[in-house]
Each structure stands twice: as C-alpha cells, then as structure tokens.
Subunit: 280 residues, 2 copies
Amino acid sequence: MEIPGFTTIGIIGGAGQMGQWFKEYFESLGHTVLISGRKTELTWQDLAEQCQVVIISLPLDVSIDMARQVGPLMNKDQLLMDMCSMKHDICQAMKESTQAQVIGTHPLFGPSTAGMAGQNVIVCPMGEGPWLPWLESQLEAKGAVVTITDGYTHDRNMAVVQALTHFMTISFGETLLQLGVDPKEIRPYATPIFRLKLGLLGRMFAQDTELYRNLICKNPMASEVLDQFLSSANEVKNNICHAPEIMTAIDAFLGTFPEQGMIESDACLETLAKFKERAM
Amino acid sequence: MEIPGFTTIGIIGGAGQMGQWFKEYFESLGHTVLISGRKTELTWQDLAEQCQVVIISLPLDVSIDMARQVGPLMNKDQLLMDMCSMKHDICQAMKESTQAQVIGTHPLFGPSTAGMAGQNVIVCPMGEGPWLPWLESQLEAKGAVVTITDGYTHDRNMAVVQALTHFMTISFGETLLQLGVDPKEIRPYATPIFRLKLGLLGRMFAQDTELYRNLICKNPMASEVLDQFLSSANEVKNNICHAPEIMTAIDAFLGTFPEQGMIESDACLETLAKFKERAM
C-alpha cells in the first residue's frame, strides 16, 4: 500500500478545541479534513468510511469507548489515531478493536499554542506499517519534535510532567486561599518569578479545571509521584536551614542543565516585564 | 534643605552584581556614582563623607553591621539606604544608627534583569524628609512600580513571594532527584508549562543557592507559610480525586485574576517555543 500525497483525515470530536486546532493544522498541509461531533451532519461512522485517517479527539473515557466502536469499521489500509493525555489504555483499546494501523499520539501542548514549531509530540505506534513515517513527516513539516515511545513509558513520564506539575500549582493556590493572600493585592510585591508562578496558577483556573484534575486522578502512577513530592518537601523543610548539603545534592544532580534553564527563563521574564498591566 | 538635580551616590558593596546594576542605573540618570568594596581605593568611610546618598548593597547580616558603622558618620542632610531582601531588621538598625534620612528599599528583581521598566520596587521610609519624593522620582524615571510600605508588611509578604516560591522549586528539584528523573532526558516529554518549571529550577541552581536558602531561612515568618503549604499540599493530595470542590473553592478565591494570568503566561510560553534548543 502506498500513501498518496494528500489524504482525507477525519477527526471524531473535531468541533472541540484540540480537534479544531488539528483540523486547521492538517488543512494547512493540504489535506482534506472532515469532522464529526454532536452537532455535525457527518457521524463517526461516516468518517470511518470516507477517511484514510481517523483521529479520536475526545476525553479519555469516551475515547476508549469510541475506539471499540469505530475500530471494527476500519480496514488494514487505514490509520486509527487518538490524542489523549494518557496512552497505555487507549492504545490497547484501539489495537484490540481494529485491523487498521494504530498509532497513539499525545501533542504536549494546548489549543492556545500559536503553532507547531518547537512543540513536543509523543507518538506510540502499535505495530508496524506505512503510516508511521507519514505521521512523523506531517508533524515535523512544521517543526514539531517527535518522540516515539510506548504507552507505559509515556504514562510514567506524564505522572511527573503533568500530574506533579499541576499538583504543585493547585497546592500553591490552596496555600494562598488558606493564607488569604489575594493575587491582585500581592502583585506590587511580586518578583518576576513569583509573578510567573501566579500567572501559571491563573492559567490553570482560566481553563477547564476538570481536565487538570483528570491528569492527576486518571494516571495510575501519579499517586506514587505525589507521595514522593510530599516526602521530599517535608525533607527540604526539615533540612534546608541547618543542612545546606540538600542544595548541593540537587545541584550535582542537575549537572549542566541550569545554564539552559537560565537562558530560557531569562527570555520568559523579559517577556513578562513588557506587560504594562504590571501593577494592575 | 533642597536636593540638587544631580547628586553624588555612594554604593557600599558596589562591585557586587546588584551594586553594579544600580551604579549603571543611577549613572544613566546623570548622577555621579562612587563605589567601595574589598578591592576599591575608596572606603565606606570615604563614601559617607563624599556622597549625599549612601546605599548599602551587601548581604543582610553584613548590612546590619555596616549600618551601625556607617550610620554615625552621616548627617541629617544625607540619605542612608539599603537594598536587602528583608526589611524590618535592617531598617531598624539604620534608623537607630544615624541622623541621616533612612529609606529601606527592596528592588524585587535580580541583576540579570534588562531594565527598570515594569519592575517592582518596595520602599520603606523610616520617617519623613525630602529624599523620599526624590527616590521615587529616580525609580519611576525609567518605569519602576514603587510601593511604599513598612518593614513588617514587606517581610510578611516576602514569606510568600520569596520563601514559599523558592521552597516549592527546591522541593520540585529534590523530588526529581529522588525519582531519578533527569531534566535533559525528560525534555522531549515536556509540556510548555513543565519546561517552564524546569527552567525555573535550573535558574535557581545557575545562581547562588545560598541566596535562595537565606530568603527562606532568614525570614522569621517563612516557617509558618511553609507549614501551611505542606498542610495544603496534603489536603489537595487527599481530596483532589474524590472531592473536586477543592478546585471550585480556589477558583472562587482567584476571582477575575486568571484572565490576566492566561494572557501573561501565554506570552511566556510563546517566547519559550521560539528556542531552537527545544529537544536539546
């Protein structure tokens, strides 16, 4: 089987924010994109019939159900994909349900992202086939950094990348709430770094908080990582003031990484300083 | 007493990074700046004699000692300032030691900051005098956001703005160390937000970690704030998955702030996406 230059791609849940983002993305590469959703004329059955590539762009639970329904309608020349934030279970569900080639993907960015350049995308192929090099070339066409791995490794990393990150932000918000520290009132006292952390807290609550909660609660490996964080935070609290070697150990662990972090965070803080609303 | 358009400003510790930053800043406004340090010909005694304004730019402990030494050499027409990250104790020490006007200041940014525009500066005047409007005009000349408060209020806010912020970052680093998650290896899995948090971790360890440690350990109000964080983080861990109302409460507390946070963090994340080193 040979894949033509331009294909017809169907996005189930294509009216959602990420679905729309990828509709525009694939259209910008010259493909035809059809979408199905609650209010569309086309159904997901139509997409399975009319498209060479079918992408499930729905919440995790619904995606697994959809994989089991749409999978059997597809044949070995087609590609079935998903875009969930967790990969192991959905990849298994897709693979078990279809003869089509199956590739799980996780675009590691949200729908407010301006473009694909420099964005990370994880790809979890379930078996071999011609669609994997095609997908890589489509993503890399506009500068994505594609990493191929398996669902388990992906989910374990997400327990740190997503669950821990968002847990720290929620805990920060809960602390401000308990202390009664209003973000607007404390802004004139903000350092650039504190201002950035406040901004990330605001960012979470400007969006769908259920999504963030699910990234913690639906990852079976998250609980262990959060326990480690609580234990580490306690250790830091107990040692930081009389045993400074706790800092030395982290420093040694980070190696040469801090140089890169300094450059990148400097650029962010400069961006932040340009906002006139500083004092609100 | 009338303050002339251009003054002579002395910076004790003026060879340090912040001292150099403010030397260039005041020179850009047309003032003459003299500095003293371990390797300078001029001594701090010389500065007290020759300058109208003397700024102590040294670590906190040393600043308090210096205030007690330099204060008695100054007269009521002069201005004595400091730039420590803690304000209550140093302001008291300056006030008790001198007849000069005393103003504690805390520039809420580091020496890698490109310019004064949009930066927060806290000013703690100890009594009245003509130097306060002068100082405000000098800082605001290039766009600083000046907030006038007392040392106690400042230090209490810094327990959140500095101690808590840096504590969370150190605890994050300790967690990665304990989990064996190498920042470089996990970068291809990073979301923009995780990448930003990694960058802030790197930033801390690219600098003087003693400074960050002191911002936690020398603030008498930090311990209470860190305890609240640990307690809140435990509460979040225990409730997030079965009692989503913990998110609703934070959301209600934040009010309209998230909109601003979304705008600012979007701009930062766009800046970050421009770095070609993305995959390292």
